[in-house]
Structures are given as structure tokens and as C-alpha cells.
């Protein structure tokens, strides 16, 4: 991942982005208010606040261990906040009716039973969410896994697993997509596919929160950036504002993360 690559991707993004002015007032899809999460002595997330508006793609960036995954787990009801609140559509995830129809999420790239087929993985979730079986075939087509869906997940490549996870997140046709490190371990074709996918998804007016420590991979697909370091938000701004001075996202990031230390 070079600085040059980053610069190119920003250019691509500028030319490829379609203007999508929306007359509707923007609704807060995600509201995180003074959220703190401690594990014993360790403060994983330290009093952070941010919100996401509908129709945006936000890159949630930061080094490993910065608190990205912890924030997403609290947001999605898998972990309890120590203090503060993380709301989706103005409610705690665990209190939403049928959250799977509004929010799709992929937290780990390998959350599958290796002895179950890709299709059956999706069917189990669809049954639980009362989503019709035909939708399983639709999302399999969408992520280009229909031909391999009968195979057990243990035979899948990492890229196929990433796409199967994405298919599961899309089952409920959600308005908000939350992806934790979706580009990890993807080959260039996979990364390209993912970028195109995120752009299409957000182009339809829906919202994406995508965490990553791979900057070049996300730079081309996001319009807002949240940078977290040591459990604190250090930047929350539109991407073009950050890179206005001619800096690439990577340069801005490195300044913020390592600049204070050096």
C-alpha cells in the first residue's frame, strides 16, 4: 500500500462518484454518545461520540487494537457499554424489532460452521429472521456464490467466506451495513469487487460503516472518515476536507497516529 496508490484512488473516487443530492432531511442512523467500554483495567473505548447520517459511507479507521471492533460490538448489541450509549435508528440494537431487516453486519470473516454449506448457513439465518427462502438465492447471486453454495464452507477460500458473510448481512435488505475489516485477506480482484459493491449500496441511499486498517482499500469507497486511536476519536470529517491540502488519506492518517508520538 503506497502513498501513490492512495493518491490514485482518491482521483478515481472523485471522478467516479455520482452526485446524489437528497432533499430529505438527513436522519441519524447511528448515534454514539460518550461511549466507554472497559475490560477490567483496559479501556478499549474511551468516551467517544459520533453519528452517521443516512446515505453516507463512513470509513472507521485506526490501528489494530484502537477500539474499532469493540465499538462495533457495542453498537450491535454483542457487548454492553460500560458507560454511555450506542444507538442504531435511535434505539439500542437489542431493543429493535427485527434488527436484521434494518441492519446488516459482518464482524468476523469466518463466522461459519465449516461442516455446513454456504446456502444452509444463509437459510438458518433466514429462517430465524423469517425472511423468505427466495431471498437466500438472491443474495447468493448478488455476491456471486450461487454456483458454490451447495459446498461446505470448509472448502471455501477466504474471499468466498468474506462474500458469504456479506450475503448474510444483506439477507434482510438492510438500510445500514456495518462491516469490520471486510478487505482483510482479499486479493486485488476481491478488493475491487468490494469497493464497487459498497459504492452501489450507498448509491441507493443507504448507509455504510466500514472499519479497516487498510487505507488504500477504503479510501476509494468512503465519503466520511472516523479515525480512532487508543480508544478515542481523533478525527471525524468528510474525506475531501481531510485531503483538501493535497495530502492523501494515508498521509493524514500517519500524521495523526504517529505524528503525536514522533
Amino acid at each position: 500500500m503506497s502513498a501513490d496508490g492512495g493518491a490514485e484512488s482518491l482521483l478515481d473516487e472523485d471522478s467516479a462518484r455520482t452526485p446524489a443530492p437528497r432533499a430529505l432531511p438527513r436522519q441519524a442512523v447511528v448515534t454514539v454518545e460518550r461511549l466507554t467500554k472497559r475490560y477490567g483495567e483496559i479501556v478499549a473505548v474511551d468516551d467517544i461520540s459520533f453519528s452517521l447520517e443516512a446515505g453516507t459511507v463512513t470509513g472507521f479507521l485506526g490501528p489494530n487494537g484502537a477500539g474499532k471492533s469493540t465499538t462495533l460490538r457495542v453498537l450491535l448489541g454483542l457487548a454492553e457499554p460500560t458507560k454511555g450509549e450506542a444507538l442504531v435508528f435511535n434505539q439500542r440494537y437489542r431493543e429493535l424489532e427485527q434488527p436484521f431487516r434494518r441492519i446488516g453486519a459482518v464482524l468476523e470473516s469466518n463466522d461459519f460452521d465449516p461442516g455446513r454449506s454456504g446456502r444452509d448457513h444463509l437459510r438458518a439465518l433466514a429462517i430465524a429472521a423469517e425472511i423468505p427462502r427466495s431471498r437466500v438465492e438472491e443474495v447468493l447471486e448478488l455476491v456471486e456464490l450461487a454456483g458454490d453454495a451447495h459446498r461446505k464452507v470448509r472448502t471455501y477460500s477466504l474471499g468466498m467466506r468474506q462474500r458469504l458473510g456479506l450475503a448474510a448481512a444483506l439477507l434482510g435488505d438492510p438500510e445500514l451495513l456495518v462491516l469490520d475489516e471486510p478487505a482483510n485477506g482479499l486479493d486485488p480482484v476481491g478488493v475491487h469487487w468490494l469497493r464497487r459493491f459498497l459504492r452501489d449500496f450507498a448509491g441507493a441511499g443507504r448507509t455504510v460503516l466500514v472499519s479497516s486498517h487498510l487505507l488504500a482499500e477504503v479510501a476509494q469507497a468512503v465519503d466520511r472518515v472516523l479515525i480512532i486511536n487508543s480508544g478515542r476519536i481523533v478525527v471525524a470529517a468528510p474525506l475531501d476536507e481531510l485531503t483538501r491540502g493535497g495530502q492523501t488519506l494515508e498521509e493524514v492518517y500517519l500524521d495523526l497516529i504517529t505524528g503525536s508520538a514522533s
Binding site: 460490538r73 460452521d113 465449516p114 455446513r116 444452509d120 430465524a128
Partner: protein
């Protein structure tokens, strides 16, 4: 039937894990019943009660053990493979997820118990008859063996889900259940620990009692059924509560 329960049943039948457990259980029953039926001295089979305790009861014992493993695996397997995350994203009401696992495991365990009881009774009978030993077990005893085996297995499946939800880590949960069945309770039944008759109040002993084994030492079947049901309810509720209070990594 709730969506959560249908999903749990689908999960159980979309991998070979439960089929593998079932097959292992049946093979073990054949092995142990044939070994005892053909090998144990005929003097140990001179009453109906002895025939049940020494021979036919193995069906219930192994059904209860494997049902406990099945129940524990239904949750520890999801934690091990990470599918617990998508499962809870679909249904963030964790008590409901755990209780759906309890019901699904109980339903499947009834099948385990009926098959185990029937195979043990059938093969045991053939083994005794092949040696010319009179089978003293009556129709009522057979019915109690098979139905009791199903009831004990169903209740042990619920206990297994509870243990799995509490322990979470698959290997210690499964090893714990096996060690309890094969070792710990055997030590405590009888007066070895100086606790008198308390051993018969333990859950594996209660399972044996439900199917009519060893009535001189163990509880009456009806009382044992109520006691094991109490264990099952407590385990399921404790497991559901633990699951809803803890973070998922």
C-alpha cells in the same frame, strides 16, 4: 413453532454433527449391551431388576449422556465457530435463543432416547435369549425403559444447553459432562463420601431412576422425573441468564 426454534432445528440437521453423535451412541450401546448380555455371568440376570440394571439400562444411560453432549454442543459449537455472532445479530434477545436451543435439543434428544432405549432392550433381549436365560422383564418394564430413556435424554439435553451456556468453551463443557457421567456420580452414589443416600438425588442417577433402574437404591421413576425436570429448568434458566448478561467477543 417459533422462528427461533425452526432455525435451531434447521441448524441441527444441516451439519452431520448430531447424526455423528447419534451413530456413536448407537454403536456404543450395541457394544456395551452385547458385551454385558453375552459376557456377564448368568447369576447376575436372575431377577428382572438385575436384568434392567446390568443390561437394559445402558440405553438410557448413554442416551442421557449423548443428549447432554448434544445440548451443550448446540451452543458451544456456535461459540467455537463464531456463528453465535450472526445468530445474535438476527435475534438479539439471547434468552429466546438459548430457550430455542433448549427446545430443539430436547426434541432431538427424545429421538435419541427412544432409539437408545429400544436398541438396548431389543439387543439385550436377543443376547439373553441366545444364552437360554429367561427374560424376566415385562411389557411395562420395556415401556418404562424406552419412554424413561426418552424423558431422561430430553431433560439432559436441556441441562447440556445450560452447561454449555455457562461454560461456553466447548472442550471443557463436553469433557465435564462425560467426566460427571462416567466418574463423579459413580463415586457419589452409595455411601462412599459419607453422604448417605444423597447420591441418588444427583441428575445422572435421577435419569437412571426414570427408566426404572435399580429401584432398591434409586428414586421411584415419577419422583426422579420431577427432580430431573427441576434440574433441567434450573440449568436452562441459569444458562439463559448467563448468556444474556455476558459480552460476546
Amino acid at each position: 413453532m417459533s422462528a427461533a426454534l425452526r432455525a435451531e432445528l434447521f441448524k441441527q440437521r444441516s451439519t452431520r454433527a448430531s447424526l455423528g453423535l447419534f451413530a456413536t451412541m448407537i454403536v456404543l450401546i450395541l457394544f456395551v449391551v452385547l458385551l454385558h448380555g453375552l459376557g456377564v455371568d448368568a447369576g447376575n440376570f436372575d431377577t428382572a431388576s438385575k436384568q434392567i440394571s446390568v443390561l437394559f439400562g445402558w440405553g438410557e444411560f448413554l442416551a442421557a449422556l449423548f443428549a447432554g453432549l448434544l445440548g451443550a454442543m448446540s451452543i458451544t459449537g456456535e461459540i467455537r465457530h463464531g456463528t453465535i455472532r450472526p445468530t445474535l445479530l438476527v435475534n438479539p434477545r439471547r434468552q429466546k435463543v438459548v430457550l430455542a436451543k433448549v427446545w430443539a435439543s430436547m426434541l432431538i434428544a427424545i429421538g435419541f432416547g427412544l432409539a437408545a432405549g429400544a436398541v438396548a432392550a431389543g439387543v439385550g433381549t436377543v443376547a439373553l435369549e441366545s444364552r437360554g436365560i429367561d427374560v424376566l422383564v415385562g411389557a411395562g418394564d420395556y415401556a418404562l425403559l424406552i419412554l424413561g430413556s426418552a424423558a431422561a435424554a430430553a431433560l439432559w439435553a436441556a441441562i447440556g444447553v445450560g452447561i454449555g451456556s455457562l461454560v461456553r468453551n466447548q472442550v471443557p463443557a463436553l469433557v465435564g459432562i462425560v467426566v460427571w457421567f462416567l466418574f463423579v456420580e459413580n463415586l457419589l452414589v452409595g455411601d462412599l463420601a459419607g453422604v448417605g443416600e444423597l447420591g441418588r438425588l444427583l441428575p445422572a442417577a435421577a435419569g437412571k431412576a426414570i427408566s426404572g433402574q435399580d429401584p432398591e437404591t434409586l428414586l421411584a421413576p415419577g419422583f426422579a422425573l420431577a427432580l430431573l425436570a427441576l434440574y433441567a429448568v434450573v440449568a436452562a434458566l441459569v444458562g439463559a441468564r448467563a448468556a444474556s448478561r455476558r459480552d460476546v467477543a
